[in-house]
Amino acid sequence: MTNTIDAKILAKMFLAGAKNLESKKEWINDLNVFPVPDGDTGTNMTLTIMSAAKDVAAMKDIDMLSLCKAISSGSLRGARGNSGVILSQLFRGFTKSIREKEQLDILMLADACDKAVETAYKAVMKPKEGTILTVAKGISVKARELAEEGCSDFTVFFDEVIRCGDEVLERTPEMLPVLKQAGVVDSGGQGLMQVLKGAYDAFMGKELDLSISEAPHTESGKANAQPDIEIKYGYCTEFIIMLNRNFNIKTEMDFKEYLESIGDSIVVVADDDVVKVHVHTNDPGLAIQRALRYGSLSNMKIDNMRLEHEEKLFKESQAASEKAASEEPAPHKEVGFIAVSAGDGINEIFKGLGVDHMIQGGQTMNPSTEDMLNAIEKVNADTVFILPNNKNIILAANQAQMMVKDKKIVVVPTKTVPQGITAIINYVPDLSAEENEENMKQEIHRVKTGQVTYAVRDTVIEDKEIKQGDYMGIGDSGILSIGGDVSDVAFRMVKEMMDEQLELISIYYGEDITENDAEQLRAQIEREYPSCDIELQYGGQPIYYYIISAE
């Protein structure tokens, strides 16, 4: 058994971890405490790690330093959602510790785990226990313990560390009551365990499909596993062998060795009586002939990658030049604003209030740090205020803030769209960025927000039983109303939100609500609170039928 890990093995382990996380994505999404159709933990973590996996998969000559850089910068840029940001910080700390090494031993891994945990804790303003952080910490403590005991067998090491991680994960409901009530373990912690388990499988030599070409939801629509360089092997060849003779480890090794002699990007996955094969080669016939020795073939697919590549390059350059032509540089300003927004009505409102650039997302899809960085680049201003407008996007914005050097970035931690609106309304051009930041941070707590959406599964939260498909009114700190009628749920939510100090209720209705229904709700609220100003606006946001604020 090997007692060191080099860059090639680590890369393979990383990709396997990413793939395993991706395959468990939906399962992890279901662990989210709030059953809202939000950008979920599994999806966010997968998109985060896939952003790095793309870069790793595209590497030709793998050495430790460039691998570490790819993992670190790829995941930092791709980070989405709180768990995604924490995961990216774990990778950043981990790779920082090992980037100068060539071969890793157990002591180095223990050091790297410590560094990872330290970095991640620092990235979170108020670290909460019972989360991915706790799981990571448990793992690092175990790793340190094993290293100090003189453990030199990686198999034992990984085995123990993963078992310990699972144990900590199982204990998360004891640390966070919301988890216990919903009857789930922490989703971020589970995501981290899936990464480690995938990596362990790869280390143990389990053959896995490591092609990253089908990563979903990537920015360009399709992941780019192929860098824009000359293609050595021209035909992407895929098929499945229906085995009619024994295919053991020995035959598998032989077969792979043969494929390696005629091409690269080889994937051979054996599963009972079928073997899935993927190879890039200049002579697909050779691969097919050899495979016929083991059985009959099906699902054969051969693509000329050179043609596709040229076409892709052509399309890309065309798109790039069109884009460049259509985008005039914005005039320089002292201060600019970026808001995360969803819905054409909300977009218009932010635009009218002076927001320079809107990042679409928020409710259904959490934008990544890279989306933030791109937006920041587009805003030609010395100081850029970012309004994340969702509590799960604030960390990604903070991460972007730390990565930008040529502009001053101020993240106003707005958790909802109404808070974002309040923040920009309170911006005073005469004050300094610091004074404005301070002022906005105070003002955003003067507005209460309630949002009406539907439950994606059955659960119990705060002793309230929720059935899949129920409408829920969610306030700043929990569920305010539940029911089967959307207007009624919205109305009862408002009643829960109100107190005597409040004088303005703003209703932003979503794309699935008719103006007529919204107007009826407005009238109903007006009858209940005749002394309040009620403002009805079209928000056009998806998923959330109503976003209602009171101030």
């Binding site: 209030l353 309304i425 003067r446 004088e503």
Partner: protein, 288 residues
């Protein structure tokens, strides 16, 4: 024997013809064109009549007093007085000051035009101050100098009920013009020195009031040497809604107990730009 000094201002000061007589000062009425017909503030046009026309959507245009009317008034006054201190509305908001300065050149230093950028209640306070200074024996030139040195010792914040008139009027800086929005906002403007400019925005009247109170307290403490009753005049001004102004005054006196506070309607030339339902708070440093 000191020279006899008359104090002249325009109706932007909010001083009515009646009050002027009581105070012993002279007020030049500002002319208005409403649907091409000329009216004079407080002479042929009262507040009620003005708002009625403004709200009915009439085309209201302000103008400055004609040179003739200014010079006629001055000549008339100089029959009785030796000198005149003339305090027009802020040069940042009207050409009145510029014209007056030009016209005064023909009066051989007998007319001293004060360019201290005041408007409404703070302009009114300047008139009262000028009167006091002349009683203390200052001549017109000394009063002018004193008031101009004192010009940054006041500030005004105005909360508008609507953006409509502001957009229609156009006498605002680009910063203020940019506050267009689908949302119903109550902009808070400030008059500081030359310009009427956007200061902040609020969504509700109470938010707007609290913004103004904080801003004025900040000015008192950081610019005018302390928020104390013996140092500061506090003023409330309004367009159309006196009740709201009274209510706001009560709230202000809770924040600034024991302060001298006056309530005055905003002059019509300001009102036609900001519309009815506006509330303003102003302060100026008391002269020693």
């Amino acid at each position: 024997m000191s020279r006899k000094v008359a104090v002249v201002t325009d109706s932007n000061s909010g001083i009515t013809q009646k009050q002027a007589k009581e105070m012993g000062v002279f007020v030049l009425p500002m002319p208005f064109m409403i649907n091409e017909e000329t009216f004079f503030e407080d002479i042929t046009l009262d507040q009620e009549g003005f708002y009625k026309r403004l709200e009915s959507g009439a085309n209201v245009v302000t103008s400055q007093p004609s040179p003739e009317s200014v010079m006629d008034l001055w000549k008339e006054i100089l029959k009785e007085y030796d000198e005149i201190v003339h305090i027009p509305m802020s040069s940042g908001l009207s050409g009145s000051c510029q014209s007056a300065l030009m016209l005064a050149e023909d009066f051989d230093k007998k007319v001293q035009v004060v360019n201290n950028q005041r408007i409404s209640v703070t302009q009114r306070q300047s008139v009262i101050d000028a009167k006091l200074l002349s009683e203390r024996g200052m001549n017109a030139e000394q009063i002018k100098e004193f008031l101009e040195n004192d010009k940054f010792n006041s500030s005004i914040y105005i909360m508008l009920d609507t953006l409509y008139y502001l957009k229609k009027g156009g006498r605002i800086t680009p910063a203020a013009a940019a506050i267009g929005s689908i949302l119903r906002l109550k902009p808070v403007l400030q008059i500081q020195g030359e310009k009427l400019d956007a200061f902040a925005k609020a969504r509700t009247a109470n938010q707007g009031k609290s913004i103004m109170i904080n801003a004025i307290r900040n000015d008192m403490e950081n610019r005018f040497g302390g928020a104390s009753a013996d140092n500061i005049w506090l003023m409330v001004a309004y367009t159309k809604d006196l009740e709201a102004a009274k209510q706001f005054s009560q709230e202000l006196l809770k924040e600034f107990p024991g302060f001298d506070l006056v309530i005055n309607p905003l002059s019509l030339s300001v009102a036609c730009h900001i519309g009815p339902g506006s509330l303003a708070v102003a302060c100026s440093k008391k002269i020693r």
